[in-house]
C-alpha cells in the first residue's frame, strides 16, 4: 500500500491553472523531494494534500484511504503533519507553550474549558521531551520571539514530529537558514526514523539532493520528470527547466 | 393584492433599487477594490441630501445642486482618505473604527446644523407628474431615477472595463507593489476611487431626496442596505451591486407591503441564503 497517492489533481484560480493533472505516489518510508521553479505549484500541491485548498478534480489517498472529502483539520488526525515555508508559530509564547499547543491539537483535552492548562503535568512533560529531542529543552521558557530562525525551524519540525505523523510534509525547511543552522536541521531530518514517510519541497539543491531518494519535478503545475535522484539529475528536461529558467 | 398595487410596488422597487445601486456601487468599489470597509458611506449619502437642501434653498437648481453636493461630499471623502485612511493601509479594524467614528461625528454635526426635522427636497419641476409607458401611468421622477441608475451602471462599467484609468484601478488593486513598479501612481488612484465612490453616494442622497427626504438617522438606515447589497452581490462586482440592489429594492418594498413589520427580516432571509450557499456573494470572486 502506498503511503500517499495523488491522482489527476487539478486546481485553477480563475483563469490561472496552478495544478494540472498531477499524479504521484510515495511509498512508505520513502524520502521524496519535490522541486521546480517558482510558481510551479509545489506549495499548492501541499495545500491540496492537507486540505487547505480544495481541488477542482482528482483524488488524494492516504495509506489506501480516500481523504479527498475529509475536512482539512481532520487529515492531521490521520497521520499527516506539515511545516510551512514561512514559520508561523506563536510569537508571543514560550517554546514550551508552542509545543504544548501542538500536542494539545490531537488530544481530547483541547475542548476542555474547565481545567487549568498549566496543571496538565503529562502534557507538559511530553512537551519538554519533544524539545529535548531537538536539543532545545534548555530554551523551553524562552519566548519564541527571542530565538533564532534556525531554532524556530527546529521547534516547528519538532512540533510536527510530536504529532506522531506517518507522513511529514516539509515546505522549504532550509529557507532562510545560515550554514550551521542548515546542518542542524539536516541532521534532524535525516535522523527521522523510517516509519515516517517524508516529502520535501526545496530550492536549495546542495542540501536537498543528498536527502532525496526519489525526485518529482513540477513545472507550470505539471509533473514533468520523475524518478530516482540519478535519473532526474541526468534528465535533459530537468537541465532545460533549470538552466533555461 | 390587486394589480395596480403590485405595479406601484414594482415601480417603487425599481426606484429603490436604482438608488441603492448608486449608493452601493461606490461602497462596493471602495470595499472590493481598495479593501476599505467604508462605514462612513451612509453619512456620505445623508450629507449629499443635506448639502443639496441648503443649495436649493439658496436658489440653485436641482441638477446643479445634485452635482455640486456630490462634489462637496467627494471633497470631504478625499480629505478623509488622504489624511486618515491613507495612513492605515491594510489595517482593517482601524479602518472600520475610524470610518465608524467619523460617521458618528458627521451625524452629530448634521443634527446641529440642519436640526432634527426631516427636510423635503422637491421633485425637479420638469419631472413632476406621470408619464405613460405602454399605456400605464408611472410617476415620471421614479422612472427618471431608474434611467439615471442604468446610465451610471453603464458608465461605471465602461470606466472600469474600457478605459486606461479603469485598467490602472484594477491593476492597482490586484498588485499594488507591481503596479507602482510599472509606474502607476497607486495612492493617487485610490484617492480618485474613494472620491468617486463618495460622489456617487452624495449624488444618490440628492436624487433620493424627493422620495426619502433627508433626516437624522438616514445614514444608519441606508448603510445596512448597502451592506446587504454588497454581501448579496459580492464586493468589487458592479454587476453584483446592480443585481443585489434590485433584489433588495424588491424585497424591501414588497416585504413592507405584505409584512409591514418585517421589512428588515425579509432582507435577512436572502442574505442568509446567499451566505450559506455562496459566501462570496452572487457575483463575487471566490477567495483563493
Amino acid at each position: 500500500m502506498t503511503a500517499l497517492a495523488v491522482r489527476d489533481l487539478d486546481k485553477s484560480f480563475g483563469g490561472l491553472c496552478v495544478t494540472a493533472g498531477v499524479s504521484l505516489s510515495v511509498e512508505p518510508g520513502e524520502r521524496r523531494l519535490i522541486i521546480g521553479p517558482n510558481g510551479a505549484g509545489k506549495t499548492t500541491l501541499f495545500n491540496l494534500i492537507t486540505g487547505e485548498l480544495r481541488p477542482d478534480r482528482g483524488a488524494i489517498m492516504l495509506f489506501g484511504r480516500d481523504i479527498t472529502r475529509v475536512p482539512s483539520h481532520r487529515r492531521f488526525h490521520l497521520g499527516i503533519a506539515r511545516t510551512y515555508q514561512i514559520i508561523t508559530l506563536f510569537q508571543g509564547e514560550t517554546l514550551l507553550r508552542n509545543v504544548m499547543l501542538s500536542l494539545l491539537g490531537l488530544s481530547r483535552l483541547r475542548w476542555n474549558p474547565f481545567v487549568r492548562l498549566a496543571r496538565q503535568g503529562a502534557l507538559i512533560a511530553r512537551a519538554r521531551e519533544t524539545l529535548a529531542r531537538v536539543a532545545l529543552d534548555h530554551l523551553a521558557e524562552r519566548p519564541l520571539a527571542q530565538t533564532s530562525y534556525g531554532e524556530r525551524r527546529r521547534v516547528e519540525i519538532a512540533m510536527a514530529l510530536a504529532q506522531n505523523p506517518r507522513i511529514l510534509l516539509l515546505d522549504e525547511p532550509f529557507a532562510g537558514l545560515a550554514i550551521d543552522e542548515r546542518r542542524d536541521v539536516l541532521r534532524l531530518v535525516t535522523g527521522i526514523p523510517r516509519d515516517v514517510t517524508i516529502v520535501m519541497i526545496e530550492h536549495d539543491m546542495d542540501v536537498a539532493l543528498d536527502f532525496a531518494e526519489r525526485i518529482t519535478v513540477l513545472h507550470f503545475g505539471e509533473v514533468v520528470v520523475e524518478g530516482t535522484r540519478g535519473e532526474v539529475v541526468a534528465h535533459p528536461r530537468t537541465k532545460e527547466i533549470y538552466l533555461g529558467a | 393584492m390587486d394589480m395596480s398595487l403590485t405595479v406601484v410596488l414594482a415601480v417603487n422597487s425599481v426606484t429603490l433599487g436604482g438608488l441603492l445601486f448608486l449608493l452601493s456601487a461606490g461602497f462596493s468599489l471602495i470595499f472590493g477594490l481598495m479593501k476599505i470597509p467604508n462605514l462612513t458611506h451612509g453619512s456620505f449619502f445623508m450629507l449629499g441630501g443635506y448639502f443639496a437642501a441648503s443649495l436649493i434653498g439658496w436658489g440653485v437648481d436641482f441638477w446643479s445642486a445634485a452635482f455640486l453636493s456630490g462634489l462637496l461630499v467627494a471633497a470631504f471623502g478625499g480629505i478623509v482618505e488622504r489624511l486618515i485612511l491613507r495612513r492605515l493601509p491594510g489595517a482593517e479594524l482601524a479602518q472600520v473604527l475610524v470610518t465608524l467614528g467619523l460617521s458618528f461625528m458627521v451625524a452629530d454635526v448634521c443634527l446641529r446644523v440642519w436640526t432634527g426635522d426631516p427636510i423635503r427636497i422637491d421633485t425637479p419641476s420638469a419631472l413632476r407628474g406621470a408619464t405613460s409607458v405602454l399605456g400605464v401611468a408611472f410617476p415620471t421622477y421614479r422612472l427618471a431615477i431608474s434611467v439615471i441608475a442604468v446610465i451610471f451602471a453603464v458608465a461605471l462599467w465602461a470606466l472600469l472595463d474600457r478605459t486606461r484609468l479603469g485598467a490602472m484601478i484594477r491593476a492597482g488593486v490586484d498588485d499594488p507593489a507591481m503596479a507602482r513598479v510599472v509606474g502607476i501612481r497607486v495612492s493617487r488612484l485610490f484617492t480618485i476611487v474613494f472620491c468617486l465612490g463618495a460622489w456617487l453616494a452624495g449624488f444618490a442622497g440628492v436624487i433620493g431626496g424627493p422620495i426619502l427626504s433627508v433626516y437624522p438617522g438616514l445614514d444608519q438606515e441606508m448603510l445596512p442596505l448597502a451592506l446587504v447589497v454588497v454581501i448579496l452581490g459580492g464586493s468589487g462586482s458592479l454587476l453584483g451591486s446592480l443585481v443585489g440592489s434590485f433584489i433588495v429594492g424588491f424585497l424591501y418594498n414588497f416585504g413592507q407591503a405584505l409584512f409591514p413589520e418585517l421589512a428588515y427580516v425579509v432582507l435577512f432571509l436572502p442574505m442568509l441564503f446567499v451566505l450559506v450557499l455562496r459566501p462570496q456573494g452572487l457575483f463575487g470572486r471566490q477567495a483563493g
Binding site: 487547505e52 510551512y84 499547543l101 494539545l104 487549568r116 | 482593517e92 451592506l227
Partner: protein
C-alpha cells in the same frame, strides 16, 4: 502582591453602596458593572478569538426584549431568565453561523448587518417590540427572598453576577479550550494544521460571548425597567467595542476598566456636553490615528507577521539569564 491588590479591589467594589454618596452614584456603579459584563463578553470574541464584532448590541437587546416580553406575559423570574438566555443563545448561534461565513473584515461587516437587522426589528416590528415606544416592565427578581428594589441591593446582586462573569473568564482563559481560542486568533492556519477545528472553536467562543452579552442585557432590563430600540443601535455596539479597546483587549481587567471609563465619561459628558455621539466618534478616530498598531492583538499580529515575513533571520538569542 497581586493577590493583595485584587483582594483590596474586590473589597472596595463590594462595599460601594456603603462609601459612595447617594443612590445616583450607586446606580452608576451598577451601570458600570452591567457594562463591564457586556464588555467582558465581547472581549471573548474581540480580544481572545481575534474576531471584531459590531453587532453584539443585537444579542444584548434580544435578551432584554425577550426578558421583557416573558415578564409581561406573567412568567416567574426563573422562567424569564432561562427563556431570555435561551433565545439569546439561539440568536448567538445564528449570528455566529452567518458571520463565520466571512473572514476578518467580512466577519465584521456581517455582524454590522446582523446588528442592524435586529435594530430594524426592534424599531419596526411594533407588535413584537412596541417599536420606538419600547417595553416597560415592573419588578425585579427576589433571589432567596431578598428584595432587589433598592439601588444598593440591586448593586450587590449585580456584583455577584459580575464576580461569576469574571471567574468564568479567568477559568476560560487558563483552560485548554481557552488556549485553543487564543491560538486561532494568532495563527488560524497553523491551528488547523495542528488538528484544531478552527470553525467550531470560534463558534463556541461566540456562544460563550453571546451568553454573557445576554446576561448583561437581562440585568439592564431589571435595572432600567424598560427596553427600547436605542439599546440595539450601532452606537451601542460601537460603545461596547470602545470599552474593550480603550481598556485593553485580551486582558481581564481591560474591559472592566474600559467600561468604567466609558460609563463615567458618558454620564459626565451628558452633564456638560449634549453631544455624546460626537465625542464617541472623535475618540474612535483619535485612538486609531494615534495608536493604529496593537489596538487589539489581531492588529498587532498583522504587523508582527509582516515584519517576520520580511526578515530572513531573527535577532540573535538573548544571553541566558
Amino acid at each position: 502582591m497581586k493577590r493583595l491588590v485584587v483582594a483590596a479591589a474586590l473589597a472596595i467594589l463590594a462595599t460601594v453602596p456603603v462609601w459612595v454618596g447617594g443612590t445616583y452614584y450607586v446606580n452608576i456603579a451598577s451601570q458600570i458593572l452591567i457594562a463591564a459584563i457586556f464588555a467582558l463578553g465581547i472581549n471573548v470574541l474581540v480580544g481572545y478569538a481575534g474576531l471584531v464584532t459590531l453587532g453584539h448590541a443585537g444579542l444584548f437587546g434580544i435578551a432584554a426584549y425577550a426578558g421583557a416580553r416573558l415578564m409581561n406575559n406573567g412568567h416567574g423570574h426563573v422562567a424569564v431568565a432561562a427563556g431570555a438566555l435561551a433565545v439569546t443563545l439561539l440568536g448567538a448561534a445564528v449570528f455566529a453561523a452567518l458571520a463565520l461565513r466571512g473572514t476578518g473584515l467580512g466577519f465584521v461587516m456581517i455582524t454590522v448587518a446582523l446588528g442592524q437587522i435586529v435594530w430594524g426589528v426592534a424599531y419596526r416590528w411594533i407588535s413584537l417590540t412596541n417599536g420606538d415606544n419600547g417595553i416597560s416592565v415592573s419588578g425585579r427578581p427576589s433571589p432567596l427572598g431578598l428584595s432587589l428594589a433598592s439601588a444598593a441591593s440591586f448593586y450587590w446582586a449585580t456584583f455577584v453576577i459580575f464576580l461569576l462573569a469574571v471567574a468564568s473568564m479567568a477559568i476560560f482563559v487558563a483552560s485548554p479550550f481557552g488556549a485553543s481560542v487564543l491560538g486561532t486568533r494568532d495563527q488560524p492556519r497553523r491551528m488547523n494544521a495542528l488538528g484544531y477545528h478552527v470553525w467550531m472553536i470560534r463558534f463556541l467562543a461566540f456562544l460563550f460571548s453571546g451568553f454573557w452579552s445576554g446576561v448583561a442585557g437581562l440585568l439592564y432590563l431589571y435595572y432600567n425597567q424598560f427596553v427600547g430600540p436605542q439599546v440595539v443601535a450601532l452606537t451601542a455596539s460601537a460603545e461596547a467595542l470602545l470599552m474593550v479597546i480603550s481598556g485593553g483587549a485580551a486582558t481581564l481587567l481591560g474591559p472592566i476598566a474600559g467600561a468604567a471609563l466609558v460609563v463615567i465619561m458618558k454620564n459626565v459628558a451628558s452633564a456638560y456636553i449634549e453631544r455624546w455621539n460626537f465625542v464617541l466618534g472623535a475618540i474612535f478616530v483619535a485612538i486609531v490615528v494615534f495608536m493604529p498598531e496593537g489596538l487589539v492583538p489581531g492588529t498587532a499580529r498583522r504587523w508582527r507577521g509582516a515584519m517576520a515575513a520580511l526578515r530572513q533571520r531573527a535577532a540573535p538569542p538573548v544571553a541566558a539569564r
